[in-house]
């Protein structure tokens, strides 16, 4: 509860700051302070100190897992704001509003990690997404940003419609929006076609939100068109929060609506998930190979990473849950790190990275570590993230799916290494314009790199928190 209420209040605080505080450089200080407080409040709640006692009528249920996921997301946001605040200031004149919108998104995330009712889930998703439409279009005079915002908005509201239809069907079949009563209800009653249809519609809507193929079409265009600094936020924190909600929703439904439990109308979820996973891995990895712009390549690579995160849905067991946390942390770190470098580049093409290692060795090194982590090379957290996901699937007895995953991970090495090769093995054609980096960015990147490597050597540093 701390997180939900405080993030909303902090959002309002920043809105008010934009109206009443004229010193623009103060905004990021306020935002950082609020984020620190938010992280602190969330950790306090994890330790059992809830500041607000509100009867939520069982619409929200707070547990350690969700709160810990909040902590990951908020800390990642803190890191993100720390690294990128100077870039956020550069987008347009509305710095404080951007921070406010980020806080509102975080409020949505906090709801998504604790919902116990489809109404709350719906609200969480919308609260998380609507600020993103605005952030996407925040570069008002840039046609690409406009286009991305409109595309995102149209497709996003379309998927909202589908989500709602799914919820309506489930409500019709079970008479309740609560997650628990759905669980109990369906075990007693005969599963109806209406409910299963609703579940599949929810699957589709969520597949859209987490950009799983074939519902991924918005992702490359939106990530490409949005101001890079906000793409970073969308591609990292929002994406993993969407996955958490996805898994949270479906882990209660898979059992009861499955083919095995209800042969009459049940769904062979493994079949559907496998199709989604393979399609996502295929589209993401294959399309990323031929991209000319690193930003767009990263957009496709985020689809590919989504394919790996979908494994958590395929095999819901303790192993994949641990993997999801690790994936969330590692993927956020790597994405924030690489975008922090990308926004400072003049040229987003692969050629723009030529010879970066020579004149900016620190940035190049950080980028390399992030890319290695995304590619899943050992000694980075990305390796263990992928490892846990694949191992969970193997444990479930679907080794062939893990092999498919490993093959596509092999393809991904190709395009990630294109960037590394450009940085280290090619020299820039002309004298490259100096990349503006402050010491803040370097400290932030150092934290990212340290995080990736520490978790890559000792993933337990994170996972221990799940069991303390």
């Amino acid at each position: 509860m701390n997180a939900i209420i405080l993030s909303a209040i902090f959002g309002v605080v920043l809105m008010m700051a934009s109206a009443f505080v004229s010193n623009r450089s103060l905004y990021k200080t306020i935002a950082l302070a609020c984020l620190v407080l938010l992280v602190g409040a969330n950790i306090a709640e994890t330790l059992g100190y809830s500041f607000f006692t509100i009867d939520t009528h069982n619409m929200l249920a707070f547990n350690k897992m969700g709160l810990f996921f909040n902590t990951i997301c908020f800390t990642a946001t803190l890191l993100y704001v720390f690294i990128s605040s100077s870039e956020i200031e550069r987008v347009d004149n509305y710095t404080a509003e951007y921070f406010a919108l980020i806080f509102f998104s975080l409020c949505g995330i906090a709801i998504l990690t604790s919902f116990n009712n489809l109404l709350m889930m719906f609200l969480g998703i919308e609260i998380m997404s609507i600020p993103l439409y605005i952030l996407t279009g925040s570069d008002k005079r840039n046609l690409k940003s406009n286009e991305a915002a409109l595309k995102y908005f149209l497709m996003g509201s379309f998927s909202t419609g589908i989500l709602l239809l799914g919820i309506a069907f489930i409500y019709g079949a079970t008479g309740s929006f609560g997650l628990e009563s759905i669980k109990v209800g369906t075990l007693q009653m005969q599963l109806s076609i209406l409910e299963v249809t609703g579940c599949i519609l929810l699957l589709i809507a969520f597949a859209f939100k987490v950009s799983a193929a074939p519902f991924h079409f918005w992702t490359p265009d939106v990530y490409d068109g949005a101001p890079s600094v906000f793409t970073s936020f969308m591609a990292s924190i929002i994406k993993v929060a969407g996955f958490y909600a996805f898994v949270k929703l479906f882990e209660s439904r898979i059992e009861t609506t499955s083919f095995a439990t209800n042969p009459a109308v049940g769904v062979n979820w493994h079949l559907l998930f496998a199709i989604l996973i393979i399609a996502t891995l295929f589209v993401g990895n294959i399309t990323a190979v031929f991209q000319q712009s690193v930003k767009r390549m990263l957009a496709y690579s985020s689809i590919a990473q989504a394919g790996f995160m979908l494994f958590a849905l395929f095999s819901v067991n303790a192993f994949s849950k641990e993997g999801l946390y690790l994936y969330a942390a590692g993927y956020c770190l790597a994405t924030i790190g690489i975008f922090a470098v990308l926004v400072r580049m003049k040229d987003y093409t692969f050629e723009g990275f030529n010879g970066l290692a020579k004149h900016e060795p620190t940035l190049a090194f950080a980028t390399t570590v992030c890319l290695l982590s995304l590619a899943g090379i050992p000694l980075t957290v990305g390796f263990f993230a992928k490892y846990f996901m694949l191992a969970a699937v193997v444990k479930q007895g679907y080794a062939w799916l893990a092999i498919v995953g490993v093959l596509f991970a092999g393809v991904s090495i190709y395009y990630y290494f294109r960037v590394i090769a450009a940085m280290y093995f090619k020299s820039a054609d002309e004298n490259p314009a100096a990349v503006a980096t402050s010491s803040t960015v370097k400290i932030g990147l150092a934290v990212v790199v340290a995080g990736i490597i520490i978790l890559g050597v000792w993933p337990h540093a994170l996972l221990n928190f799940l069991y303390f």
Partner: protein
């Protein structure tokens, strides 16, 4: 004390209940139709260019109405939509006003408080300043 459900606001409906409404509708439509047809048949018809021109309260026409409008109009329209629709939450409160008591009042006050914050923001940002 049970909270009055919104569902209680409805009564069982049968076709009979709608009969008076139907008759009234029929009368209204018939009256309008009769008047229109009558005036069209009885009235004299002279067509001149002046008569076919757009009537703008007697003032000379100034041009096409499909001109790009100032962004202010859109801003106000958008804000109107937002604030207008939020009022929807007052309906359940109004229905259960007594039963919800002070707790409900507190909740609604908080809701309105958020509104006022938003409104303050809009005013401070100058969104409602009509003159440029």
């Amino acid at each position: 004390m049970p909270i009055h459900s919104l569902l209680d606001a409805t009564v069982v409906n049968t076709a009979n209940n709608y009969f008076p409404i139907g008759v009234q509708l029929l009368f209204a439509a018939g009256f309008v139709a009769t008047m229109l047809i009558m005036s069209a048949l009885l009235g004299p018809k002279r067509k001149t260019s002046d008569k076919l021109a757009n009537f703008e309260s007697g003032i000379e026409i100034t041009g096409n109405a499909r001109q790009p409008m100032a962004i202010k109009y859109f801003l106000v329209a958008i804000l109107f939509v937002l604030f207008d629709v939020e009022v929807i939450f007052f309906y359940p409160y109004a229905v259960n006003f007594r039963e919800l008591g002070w707790a409900g009042f507190g909740a609604v006050a908080m809701f309105v408080g958020f509104f006022i914050v938003g409104f303050t923001y809009i005013i401070k940002k100058g969104a409602l300043i009509w003159e440029d």
